[in-house]
Structure formats: structure tokens, C-alpha cells
């Protein structure tokens, strides 16, 4: 399956990446499994994605880390929002 992964703010800066397109062998995974896999890319990735305040969204909705990711999904990681 193919998924898009986006990073914002502090997380984007830490991993020096705005967006990734990933080809995965599995037909589905979870946000937690994706975080673990991305964490293997290096200490900066591991640290950014294991931050206790990290927020994750799938298809533009905030989800828990147990959320299942399917083909075509858009996943995003970011810190708490500070708009308005």
C-alpha cells in the first residue's frame, strides 16, 4: 500500500522533512507501528516521534496511536496546536 506522511512545526524541523510518500508491503498498519518504523531512520526521528505531546492525524482527523492506516491514507505528526 501507499501512504503519505506529513510533518509540521517542531516535528518537521526535527526530522528535516515536510512530506514522505511510503510504499509499504503490508495491506494495513497502525499509527504506532508506523512511528516505530520511522523511528529507525535515526535518533532525531526516534526522539521527535516519541515525544509525549505528539499529536497524530489520519486523513485530517486526530487519532489515537492504535488507529489503523490503510492504502491511500494521509498521516500527519505535529506538536500541540497554537493558532488563533
Amino acid at each position: 500500500m501507499t501512504i503519505t506522511v506529513k510533518f509540521f512545526s517542531l516535528i518537521r524541523e526535527a526530522v528535516e522533512t515536510e512530506q514522505l510518500t511510503l510504499e509499504l508491503n503490508d495491506s494495513s498498519t497502525t499509527v504506532e507501528a508506523l512511528k516505530n518504523e520511522l523511528g529507525l531512520r535515526g535518533e532525531a526521528w526516534n526522539e521527535a516521534l516519541s515525544h509525549p505531546n505528539l499529536i497524530q492525524a489520519v486523513n485530517q482527523r486526530v487519532v489515537f496511536k492504535e488507529e489503523v492506516i490503510k492504502d491511500g491514507d494521509e498521516v500527519a505528526f505535529f506538536p500541540p496546536m497554537t493558532g488563533g
Binding site: 512545526s9 517542531l10 492525524a57 505535529f78 496546536m81 497554537t82 493558532g83
Partner: protein, 154 residues
């Protein structure tokens, strides 16, 4: 256009004028936020507001609809700027209209309190060569939380 998320400058006066002319309802509340030139640490020269645009549009639409339902609004509008801004630039404009002022005020405040913590925007303040991401304020968390608590009573 109920929700507009844009990196171009916004004009709250024009937005208010348009809203009033489309919705001359008994009670119309608005909120406009402008880039402040200070924070807890001192002076601020400019602001970069990062945005996850597609998600922000969706979250603000859901929020406006939730406010409409919860407070019986006749109409609402939410406009949010992102990108590079100078101090005194408008960032956000919210308008709500209802048959009674209590509902219009509460809905406008509900939208502002909720978008602060739920819409995907991130502020980075610049002062001279220094830049710093803004962290979530406890007061914002508390203000957001009020609406959840009150929600249980309704």
C-alpha cells in the same frame, strides 16, 4: 464562504461588513485577532504561522457546524490567515449570529477557544534574529476545557 484559510492578508472590516449585510440578525458577535508585538519574554517583530491547510479547513468547518448546532446560530463565518505576518496584521476573524445575544457571544467564544487548541496552526514568534515556537498556554487549555465540561450539563 463559511471557512476560509488563506496565506494572503485578510481584512476584518470588510469581512464584518459583508457578514452584517448578509445576516442582519438580532444579535451578531465578532472576534478579530491581530499579531501582538509582545509576548511573555518581550518584544515580537513578526510571526510565522504554519498551517496544515486541508486539515485546518476541515476542523474549522466541523467547529462552525458544531457551534451552529449547539447554540442555534443563524449564521457563522471563520477566516484564518497563515504564513509570514507582521505585528498588527489580522490573523483570525470569527462572526456568529443568533436571535439572542447570549447565544451569539457564547458561540463566538466557543469557536475561538476551540480553534486555539484544535485547529492545526503553529505560531513561531521572531524577535531580531531569534525565533521560537509558541507553546500551548495553560489558560488556553483551561478555556478549551470549559466547553467540554459545560457540554456534559446540556
Amino acid at each position: 464562504m463559511l471557512v476560509h484559510v488563506t496565506d494572503e492578508s485578510i481584512d476584518p472590516g470588510r469581512l464584518a461588513t459583508g457578514f452584517y449585510s448578509r445576516h442582519p440578525d438580532a444579535a451578531v458577535a465578532t472576534f478579530a485577532g491581530f499579531v501582538r508585538d509582545f509576548n511573555d519574554d518581550g518584544h515580537v517583530d513578526s510571526l510565522y504561522l504554519e498551517c496544515y491547510v486541508e486539515m485546518a479547513t476541515r476542523v474549522l468547518n466541523d467547529l462552525g457546524n458544531a457551534a451552529q448546532q449547539r447554540f442555534g446560530l443563524r449564521a457563522w463565518q471563520i477566516v484564518h490567515r497563515y504564513g509570514e505576518m507582521e505585528t498588527e496584521d489580522p490573523i483570525v476573524f470569527v462572526a456568529t449570529s443568533a436571535d439572542h445575544r447570549g447565544e451569539a457571544f457564547a458561540a463566538c467564544e466557543f469557536v475561538m477557544d476551540t480553534l486555539k487548541t484544535d485547529a492545526p496552526f503553529w505560531k513561531r514568534e521572531h524577535s531580531g534574529d531569534e525565533g521560537q515556537w509558541v507553546t500551548v498556554k495553560d489558560v488556553d487549555k483551561d478555556r478549551r476545557e470549559r466547553w467540554s465540561t459545560e457540554g456534559l450539563d446540556q
